[in-house]
């Protein structure tokens, strides 16, 4: 169930621009996976599964979103301008890369980080 949720969350993130989904929804779906891990393996199991502090995830997300915005500035357009480029990758087809996706990935990470922080801090086991 957890891998399925994670794959679904990434699907939501990627298709978000053209179909229902996006960073917020994708992030929440991934957060559902985080919640499941917590319910199944407990506090320690979730910490282990995340590898890093949840605050770090939030930080990376925010940085990513700002970086995506700054990209537009560097290229000479406005802050947060939507940039896109399409590549044709053999055997896969046309791959569309946009700065919007990077921005949305930042949103996704912030949401996951926030939920993980909440679960880890609020669901902390009582110190015995």
């Amino acid at each position: 169930m957890i891998p399925i949720l994670l794959v679904f969350s990434i699907y939501l993130l990627v298709v978000g621009h053209d179909a229902p989904g996006g960073g917020f929804a994708g992030g929440l779906a991934a957060a559902a996976a985080v919640l499941l891990i917590y319910l199944a393996y407990g506090h320690r199991g979730l910490r282990k599964a995340l590898h890093v502090d949840p605050e770090v995830i939030t930080g990376i997300g925010l940085t990513t979103a700002f970086a995506a915005g700054a990209l537009g500035l560097v290229i000479g357009e406005q802050f947060l301008a939507a940039l896109s480029a399409s590549f044709t990758v053999p055997a896969i087809g046309v791959v569309k890369l946009t700065s919007v996706l990077v921005f949305d990935a930042g949103v996704y990470l912030v949401v996951v980080g926030l939920v993980a922080t909440g679960i880890l801090r609020l669901g902390e086991e009582e110190p015995s």
Binding site: H17, L35, L80, V100
Partner: protein, 756 residues
């Protein structure tokens, strides 16, 4: 452009040292010194080219913010002073600090500062200058608080940064106003055609405040002696030679256009003269050599400000250069003494002149320059200043500055005799060891400069005259003129004052009679008052009662928009029960759940019922064809319930007694009003025929923006800045949750747990 690049090298080198640090090993000194050398070479080449030339870099064109520099004789002269003294102090630092980590960190900060300073003296654009100005503020904060484990250093750093940033912001307001009335952001353009009127006077007043805070003028002078908590090389560079001169430089740049404003003449001259006296007076009372020099710096800055107030720009620059050279050297000498003897207190130092003749000689040359004795640069510049005051007939400023100069002679004598006088080395102090050459050479070279430019002031005279477009006279032997008599009188009176009160053995009580207002105390009580006020407000606003918070939020929700609505809203309410049976069923279920939630006895039941309301609403979204909204709503509801469940595990199962903070009728009234208002707003929103053009704009432009999901395109493109703001808030909330969790844990560990 070469100068702009050479300024940029400071920042590059600072970043390199800051990031790579001690891993650079042998390359570190080269990197630390390179920018200074590069800039001196650049200045050499530029001086040979026709002047003035300028270069600029558009930074934020939409706001008219340009980083621009103009290369003229003045900027080249000041750049030379900044880079040359910086180079010597960087070399000195290498001998002064022995811990490699600290040394590299210090030099990185110093380079950052130097870049800002080099930018200020070369800038010809208001906002570019402001940016460099603030860079020096930040770097100076980090340098004063360099010994961050000491509470005194941190306090002094905060004090300096609060005073100078407050001044910087005031100055920015002045810049904005000035740019607005003069329709230009270029300083030379503004000065060439200075605007007049009330707005200009206000702008100049604000800018003056900024300059006064930076240059430690009364009543902002107190941060400078406090800043002596910085390592001595930083004090030598920032708080004598460069940063405190930034305010002077700004005044020099603006003086040609605005020295005729009444506020300029009276405020600047008055403040300058008062500060000059205050600083000299305080300097005579110090036991710490470094503090003595700091108060002396305040006094000298006051002199420069007074000269600018009188419009004597050229003389100001002459005094500025002379002061930068001797004061930086004197600070370095104090640093060397501190390093050798472990103290800077003149009551403990004794006989250093016997054991360290070279250092004593260097100190003597610089001290004599400070006192204004021939044949040194300090004499030449002060003599010229007196001459200027006499020939202009500025009798009052002449009297005050002569008096302050006499006090300067007295504290100079106290400085040198306190540091180097006495017969034998104190038995309690370490055995005399020769000073390392790295700690003697830099002040020695600066002392040599004081002597050379004192004996041969002509080159400096030429440079300054062309820099400020007025001819000034810098000569070693002025002939028998009134100014010479003033100088001689000053030296004689100063010697008398020294013997009478400023001698280390003299009774301090004689000085204690005249107390100046204590600005330091005023600063402290302001900060305390601010903290106290914040405590009071927090106690009122954050009283810890959840019902009160909710009531405040809800009341705001309906009072503010309702006030707007009452003043003119004429939509007709049209309404129908439901579009289809599914909607009706969902809505009924939502209402029933909501009512049930208010009646629930168990906390968990209430949370689940609220979740049910959310699910029903998501269903309604879906029936309106908004899958994105419904998807997000469903996920959010799931999470809210799950997070509630985590918290509820720690709370009693059933609701407790009635909350006491708000009575039942009040809660009921707030709930009904909020509900009624939201209902009315929803009805109004659906009754108004919407302007289709907005929706059409979004749907038409979404594909062009690269997506077919309009909601998502709005979030990530049209309103991306909003989204960025929202996720920033989310991240802040995450940090808040983390902090709360940590605080809760700490409390749990401290107090034995009360039965759950």
């Amino acid at each position: 452009m070469p100068l702009l690049i050479s300024i940029a090298t400071y920042f590059v080198a600072a970043a390199l040292l800051g990031v790579a640090g001690v891993r650079l090993r042998k390359a570190a000194p080269a990197i630390a010194l390179a920018p200074f050398v590069a800039q001196l070479i650049t200045v050499g080449f530029l001086a040979a080219e026709p002047l003035p030339s300028s270069a600029s870099l558009d930074w934020i064109p939409s706001l008219g913010v340009t980083v621009g520099i103009e290369i003229d004789s003045l900027s080249l002269l000041l750049t030379t002073v900044v880079a040359a003294i910086g180079l010597l102090i960087a070399i000195y630092t290498w001998g002064y600090m022995t811990d490699p980590r600290k040394r590299v960190r210090f030099l990185a900060l110093m380079l950052l500062f130097s870049g800002g300073m080099a930018g200020i003296v070369a800038s010809d654009q208001l906002f570019g200058l402001f940016i460099f100005w603030e860079i020096t503020t930040i770097a100076s904060f980090l340098l004063i608080g360099f010994d961050s484990e000491k509470a005194a250093a941190r306090g002094a750093a905060v004090q300096a940064v609060l005073v100078t940033t407050a001044g910087g912001l005031t100055m920015l307001a002045g810049f904005v106003l000035l740019a607005d009335v003069s329709r230009s952001t270029s300083i030379p353009e503004i000065v060439a055609a200075p605007p007049t009127g009330t707005a200009t006077s206000v702008a100049i007043g604000l800018i003056l405040l900024g300059a006064f805070t930076k240059s430690a003028q009364f009543p902002f002078h107190f941060w400078l002696p406090g800043a002596m908590a910085a390592p001595t090389p930083a004090s030598a560079y920032l708080h004598s030679a460069t940063m405190v001169k930034a305010g002077i430089v700004l005044l020099v740049l603006l003086a040609p256009g605005f020295s005729s404003e009444p506020i300029w003449l009276y405020a600047v001259t008055g403040v300058g003269l008062f500060t000059m006296m205050l600083g000299a007076w305080q300097a005579m009372r110090q036991h710490d050599l470094k503090l003595l020099l700091a108060h002396g710096t305040v006094s000298q800055l006051g002199f420069m400000v007074a000269l600018i107030g009188l419009g004597a720009v050229g003389l100001t620059v002459a005094v500025l250069v002379a002061h930068a050279v001797f004061k930086a050297a004197l600070f370095l000498v104090v640093g060397t003494i501190d390093n050798l003897e472990g103290t800077r207190d003149i009551r403990r130092l004794n006989g250093l002149g016997k054991s360290h003749r070279g250092l004593a000689a260097i100190g003597a040359a610089c001290a004599l320059s400070m006192a204004g004795a021939p044949p040194l640069l300090g004499f030449v510049s002060k003599e010229a200043a007196f001459d200027g005051l006499i020939s202009n007939g500025d009798w009052l400023p002449l009297l005050v500055s002569a008096l302050a100069s006499a006090l300067t002679v007295a504290y100079t004598a106290r400085f040198w005799l306190g540091a180097f006088g006495g017969r034998s080395p104190d038995a309690g102090l370490a055995r005399p060891t020769p000073a390392p050459w790295l700690l003697v050479l830099p002040p020695g070279l600066l002392a040599a400069a004081s002597i050379i430019f004192g004996l041969f002031p002509e080159p400096l005279e030429g440079v300054i005259s062309s820099a400020v477009d007025e001819s000034i006279k810098l000569v070693l032997w002025p002939g028998f003129k009134p100014a010479l008599a003033v100088s001689a009188l000053v030296l004689a009176v100063g010697a008398g004052v020294y013997v009478w009160v400023a001698r280390p053995g003299a009774s301090m009580a004689r000085l204690g009679v005249a107390r100046f207002p204590d600005a330091q105390k005023a600063y402290r009580s302001t900060i305390q008052g601010l903290n106290h006020g914040a405590d009071v407000v927090t106690a009122i606003v954050q009283n810890g009662s959840l019902p009160v918070y909710v009531a405040v939020i809800l009341t705001t929700v309906f009072v503010v928009p309702a006030a707007v609505a009452l003043t003119g809203f004429d939509a007709e309410f049209t309404w129908r029960l439901a579009n289809n049976p599914v909607e009706l069923a969902l809505a009924t279920a939502a209402i029933v759940s909501a009512i049930a939630a208010t009646r629930a006895r168990r906390r968990m039941a209430a949370v689940l019922l609220l979740g049910a309301v959310g699910y029903m609403v998501a269903g309604i979204y879906l029936s309106f064809g908004a899958p994105d909204l419904a998807l997000t709503q469903l996920l959010i509801e799931t999470f809210t319930v799950a997070l509630f469940a985590l918290v509820l595990a720690k709370l009693p199962r059933r609701f407790g007694a009635e909350p006491r903070s708000l009575s039942r009728p009040i809660r009921l009234a707030v709930a009904i009003l909020a509900g009624a208002f939201v209902t009315a707003a929803a009805l109004a929103a659906t009754s108004v025929t919407p302007d289709r053009s907005v929706a059409e704009f979004y749907t038409n432009n979404a594909v062009e923006a690269g997506g077919r999901n309009v909601v998502n395109v709005i979030l990530t493109d049209f309103r991306a800045l909003d989204t960025l703001g929202e996720i920033t808030v989310l991240a802040a909330a995450a940090i808040g949750i983390g902090a709360l969790g940590l605080a809760g844990n700490a409390r749990q560990r401290k107090e034995p747990k009360v039965g759950s």
